[in-house]
């Protein structure tokens, strides 16, 4: 399911003296079965944009196409439930949305709201606790007895249980320990690769964007200013700095190596492994030449 934003603007508290514009003519498209990262400095409009993906916010001007649904500014949109089932959002600190007596019931809340039968919802919950890396006996526990990291996983399972076609992740690993961060990011990446789940990652972690995304959109002061593959985006470090963004550590490391070797590498490397093999290849070539 494609998501397309056309000239989308949004203002908070429109029509009052406290009006604050957050988005200015944002224009981009997210094709199905891609992994898209949206990055930007704090206050760049990332969080506002993501609420348009399932019509929690409606644009004050412009259009949002969500699959074949079109949300147009100024028009009352009815029955947005279908859209919300298709686009799942994992908000920042999603553990704050847990409320049920047991983990099982909390995971079943989403699907049952969309008319899934109780048996089916329960089956999904059982499958999902395993997927997010929790033991099955956790299902009967109260979500409030769990650790922060476990609560986060339960909340993520609760969104995945809706079986959305698109999943939007807003800083899904904020506040987790490094191992938990990697586990969760890898889990989403597997879902994307195995099931073709369209994934939109909203983050300010350049590392995650570089490692996982097919395509990156950069937001700056409420506008989408740059878009491209990670290689294209991180090639031009100076432009990034204009948008108050630092390239990933690995790219900065590559620059240091290039300075030392007084010679640019052939491509921008996005992971440690890639950089290591690229440097090794270059050293081998040099040795062969001399």
């Amino acid at each position: 399911m494609d998501i397309k934003l056309q000239q989308v603007s949004y203002a908070y508290a429109q029509g009052t003296p406290f009006e604050k514009r957050a988005l200015f003519d944002v224009d981009f498209e997210i094709p199905s079965h891609t992994y898209q990262a949206i990055i930007g400095h704090t206050g760049s409009g990332k969080s506002t944009i993501l609420q348009h993906f399932n019509a929690l916010l409606r644009p004050t001007s412009g259009e949002v196409h969500i699959g074949d649904r079109i949300v147009v500014a100024g028009k009352k949109a009815k029955d947005l439930k279908a859209v919300r089932q298709k686009v799942g959002i994992v908000f920042q600190f999603p553990e704050h949305q847990l409320f049920e007596e047991t983990v099982l019931k909390d995971i079943m809340f989403g699907p049952m709201n969309f008319g899934v039968s109780e048996q089916e919802a329960e089956a999904r919950a059982k499958e999902l606790v395993d997927l997010v890396g929790l033991p099955e006996n956790i299902l009967e526990k109260s979500p409030f007895d769990l650790s922060g990291g476990q609560m986060r996983r339960v909340a993520i399972a609760g969104v995945l249980a809706m079986e959305p076609e698109v999943i939007v992740l807003d800083e899904p690993t904020a506040g987790l320990d490094p191992r938990g961060q990697k586990e969760i990011m890898d889990m989403f990446y597997n879902l994307y690769q195995e099931r073709g789940l369209t994934t939109i990652l909203v983050t300010h972690s350049m590392e995650d964007a570089a490692r996982y995304a097919d395509n990156i959109v950069i937001m700056h002061e409420g506008k989408n200013v740059l878009s491209g593959t990670p290689q294209e985006i991180f090639k031009d470090v100076e432009t990034l700095k204009n948008f108050r963004l630092e390239p990933p550590r690995i790219v900065r490391f590559q620059q240091k190596i290039e300075q030392m070797m007084k010679k640019p590498l052939q491509k921008v490397c996005l992971t440690e492994e890639e950089l290591a093999s690229e440097v090794a290849r270059m050293l081998r070539e040099e040795r062969a030449e001399s």
Partner: protein, 265 residues
């Protein structure tokens, strides 16, 4: 939705009214509320209205905010206005149509009561619009100080007040966030039968309470860590200062009271 709430909001500014000491403003508004009830004829109500508009002008607050503050009491205003119009049976008959009889005195009383509402809402709104919540609680604490002799925990009350004022916007943001998260999970607060809508409040309230308790605990810990031990021997960072302007405001109020007293019938 919540960002449209105007009532109880503070608008920073630098008008003479903004600069007044919170103590004088509190005393002023409190006394004014009592004085309003002195008015009982056209002249005195006109004086009240003129006085209020003068203060609106001096405070340089846009009428938009004051009219917005009026919205919550609009229904009450309209209701009492109609009640007076239909129930008062004095003076000349103005309108006689089937069962409806409207008398001159009824219209007059209806207008009076509406002006009274308007004046009261405007004055109290000006107080909250021109005084930061912190200054208001500071002012209240000082004004209530004499009650300490009666073992009233004045400092604690003021602290409670400032903490709750401080957390209103935070909890509002939190509500908004949780509501959106549950809406994204298909919960529907705005449509469907009433029983469903009441049920849909549970997923909103539980997380809200959990986070409010957590916040309260964190705040208590943070205060203790920084050595908070209650009001005993505590000095102030923001000193209240009584100026000529404050004295002038209160003198003005007394003058109005005297005028009202002379012209009332």
């Amino acid at each position: 939705m919540m960002e449209k709430m105007i009532f109880g909001r503070f608008l920073p500014g630098n008008s003479p009214v903004h600069r007044l000491d919170p103590r004088s403003k509190l005393l002023f508004v409190f006394a004014f509320i009592i004085i309003v009830f002195l008015a009982n004829n056209t002249v005195t109500y006109a004086m009240l209205l003129a006085f209020t508009l003068l203060i609106v002008f001096v405070s340089r607050i846009r009428l938009y905010f004051l009219i917005n503050g009026l919205k919550p009491v609009l229904f009450l205003m309209a209701f009492t206005f109609l009640l007076h119009i239909f129930m008062t049976r004095e003076g000349a008959l103005v309108l006689d149509w089937k069962y409806i009889k409207i008398y001159e005195e009824g219209i007059r009383q209806g207008i009076f009561i509406s002006v009274r509402f308007l004046v009261l809402v405007f004055m109290t709104s000006i107080l909250t619009l021109t005084t930061s919540p912190i200054s208001i609680t500071d002012g209240i604490e000082v004004l209530l100080n004499p009650l300490k002799a009666l073992k009233v925990p004045v400092h604690e009350l003021a602290l409670m007040m400032s903490i709750s004022l401080r957390f209103i916007p935070t909890l509002m943001d939190e509500t908004d966030k949780i509501m959106k998260a549950q809406m994204a999970r298909g919960s529907d607060l705005s449509s469907g039968p009433l029983t469903d809508r009441i049920k849909a409040v549970v997923p909103l309230l539980v997380p809200l309470f959990v986070s409010a308790f957590k916040r309260a605990e964190d705040l208590a810990t943070a205060m203790e860590v920084r050595g908070y031990r209650g009001g005993e021997g505590r000095t102030r960072y923001r000193k209240l200062k009584w100026d000529m302007g404050d004295t002038f405001a209160l003198v003005l109020l007394v003058a109005i009271a005297v005028l009202l007293f002379f012209y009332r019938t």
